[in-house]
Amino acid sequence: MAVVPNMPKVWRAETKPHKFCPGCGHGLVLKALGEAIDELGIQERVVFGCDIGCSLLSWDFFNADTVQTHHGRTTPVMAGVKRARPDRICIAYMGDGGGYAIGSQHLVNAASRNEKITVLLANNCNYAMTGGQMAPTTLPEMKTETTPYGRNVEETGYPTQGPEMVAAITGEGAYTARGTVANLRQLKKYIKRALQNQMDGRGFSFVEALSGCPTNWSTNAKDTWKFLEEMMPRFFIVGEIKVPKDLVATKTKG
């Protein structure tokens, strides 16, 4: 008998299998998000916005109202929705290029204003949809199409520390964490807390998810996991960075 994995209720079966490459981390991040939405019982209230890049392929992923926006602009669209309809749960989904490069001013200012939205960002160390160029998150010495001899930190700096930056510039009530698709239970817990924080109207919530990109990393399954589990955490520390006290006191196990 074939084993059929349990998929979140909020998944839209009609659009599966999804459009991501084999081995891509997006499906896992979205699964964790889907389970978090299910467990919090908020499907009816969710407004989901996706960016440009591979994240756009989630435009028909969920049984949830969704808008696919422009590169970097998902944060302001979701902030605009939230300001107009505070009863909605607004989730901005993007990649590292969308959040840390072209949309960085929106991330910084939405965080500074403590917008009551949740930003979920998949970090796979490169611009994947466009064929694997250097991203703000590309690791030192990592080869990409625009750093064919490896990222030279003297010329291009070090990988962006997104959740740490957001934690530094947000006021009280903000939640930031970094999870990984290599630990889905933990990632789901972080996403749930981020959503709960929005539901409580406490403040901005931000989760970065370390995510795999075997297509552009040119890695097989084993090396993909090695990169995810061994290389990326050297530069991106997994864990919660900023947790409002009353969120911990009241909320969610596991």
Partner: protein
């Protein structure tokens, strides 16, 4: 020393007083209480920016998103003072990119949302306005033209004419009202909300720095008082019911798998736009029936053109006046009829031939000569137009 101490004391007192004062002034009309902002029609003397803010209030706009830029700032200033009294909202964003996209978010939520900008800000807003165009979002954007790049002159430049009609990654599926007076700014700001929500195309109110900053008389009114019913708004995202169970989820996108799929969408938009264009087209024509020379202008320049035509007529010159009010869609057929009876057009504009291009496209195939009177970045007066036409007639200038 004493003066400094006094100033410090005053500042401290003000700071201490402020929260309660602010609360008191907002509570003058409690949020959601919905007393109408304008009870009875009244004649007022105000700036164009103030007129726009009052119009948005009168139109029952729900939320404004904005970023500071001269010469539109006072639209925000009046909105932020007035709006909270009527339960309406405001968000100051980090730039015009964000102001445009948050406006899209407000509209997606089913709210009568708007923003305002000018010049370099208009450039940055074209990205979000092309999203609005391609998702058929009824955004309203008030543009007080100043041109650019950078500072330029901040007062007048009809440089944003083509940009506002055709900017961004769009095909010009927009409605653009070019206003001449403060009454226009008030009337067409109200109308813009209704046009946008009735037809689902992004709608623009075009003015300029002169209109924004100068004061003049106009009537402000409650649209209901004049029998104007505001179009109902509805959410594109966040509708009632469980998505996937009670209803299909809304999946809005600008990503297409095949050329044919995209072509079908654009063709559908084009057909719809062309179908509604005759209902939307507005223009003003004076003395064109027997006119030999017709002055064409839009926006604030049209006021000079109309005044010039009146003077020329009083001097026995067979002059006429034509002003497109909707510059997108353009009143092409109406202008073509005039092109067949008149002897010459003079196109006057504070730009290097943007209205001129729209006119040439509109009457393509007609043989009437067009004499451009182009003053990029400079205002145009009735007197100089009268003089220009008289010199033509007297043979001091070439009369085609």
């Amino acid at each position: 020393m004493e003066a400094t101490a006094q100033a410090t004391a005053t500042l401290e007192r003000t700071l201490a007083e402020k929260p309660s004062k602010r609360k008191k002034s907002i509570e003058k009309g409690k949020p959601g209480e919905k007393e109408r902002p304008i009870e009875k029609e009244k004649r007022v003397f105000m700036t164009g920016n103030e007129a726009v803010a009052w119009a948005a209030l009168a139109a029952d706009a729900d939320i404004m998103y904005g970023y500071p830029i001269t010469p539109q700032n006072e639209i925000m200033h009046y909105w932020t003072r007035l709006a909270p009294r009527y339960g309406k909202r405001f968000l100051q964003t980090e730039d015009e990119i964000s102001a445009g996209f948050t406006t899209c978010g407000g509209v997606l939520s089913g709210k009568r949302a708007f923003t305002a900008t000018a010049g370099p800000g208009n450039i940055l807003m074209q990205e979000s306005m092309s999203m609005a165009e391609m998702l058929r979002l009824p955004t309203v954007l008030v543009v007080q033209q100043r041109g650019g790049p950078s500072t330029a002159r901040v007062i007048i430049w009809q440089k944003e004419t083509i940009l506002t009609c055709y900017g961004g990654n769009g095909e010009g599926f927009r409605i653009v009202y070019s206003t001449s007076s403060h009454q226009d700014l008030f009337d067409y700001t109200i109308k813009a909300f209704n046009t946008a929500w009735k037809y689902r195309f992004p709608t623009f109110v075009l003015g300029d720095g002169y209109q924004a900053k100068m004061r003049e008389s106009l009537y402000i009114y409650d649209p209901a008082e004049r029998g104007i019913e505001m179009e109902k708004t509805y959410p594109f995202l966040g509708q009632e019911g469980m998505p996937g169970v009670d209803r299909d989820p809304a999946h809005l996108r600008n990503t297409y798998n095949t050329e044919e799929e995209l072509l079908a969408v654009i063709s559908d938009y084009a057909a719809e736009y062309n179908r509604i264009a005759p209902e939307l087209i507005e223009y003003d024509a004076v003395d064109t029936d027997d006119a030999e020379l017709v002055l064409l202008a839009h926006g604030v320049v049209a006021r000079a053109a109309l005044a010039a035509v009146r003077t020329l007529r009083s001097q026995g010159v067979k002059a006429g006046y034509f002003r497109p009010i909707t510059i997108r869609p353009f009143p092409a057929e109406q202008l073509r009829q005039i092109a067949r009876s008149a002897r010459e057009f003079v196109v006057a504009e504070s730009a290097q031939g943007q209205l001129l291009k729209l006119v040439q496209e509109a009457i393509y195939g007609e043989t009437i000569p067009i004499d451009p009177y182009l003053m990029p970045g400079q205002g145009i007066t009735a007197e100089e137009l009268v003089e220009y036409v008289r010199e033509k007639i007297n043979g001091q200038r070439k009369f085609h």
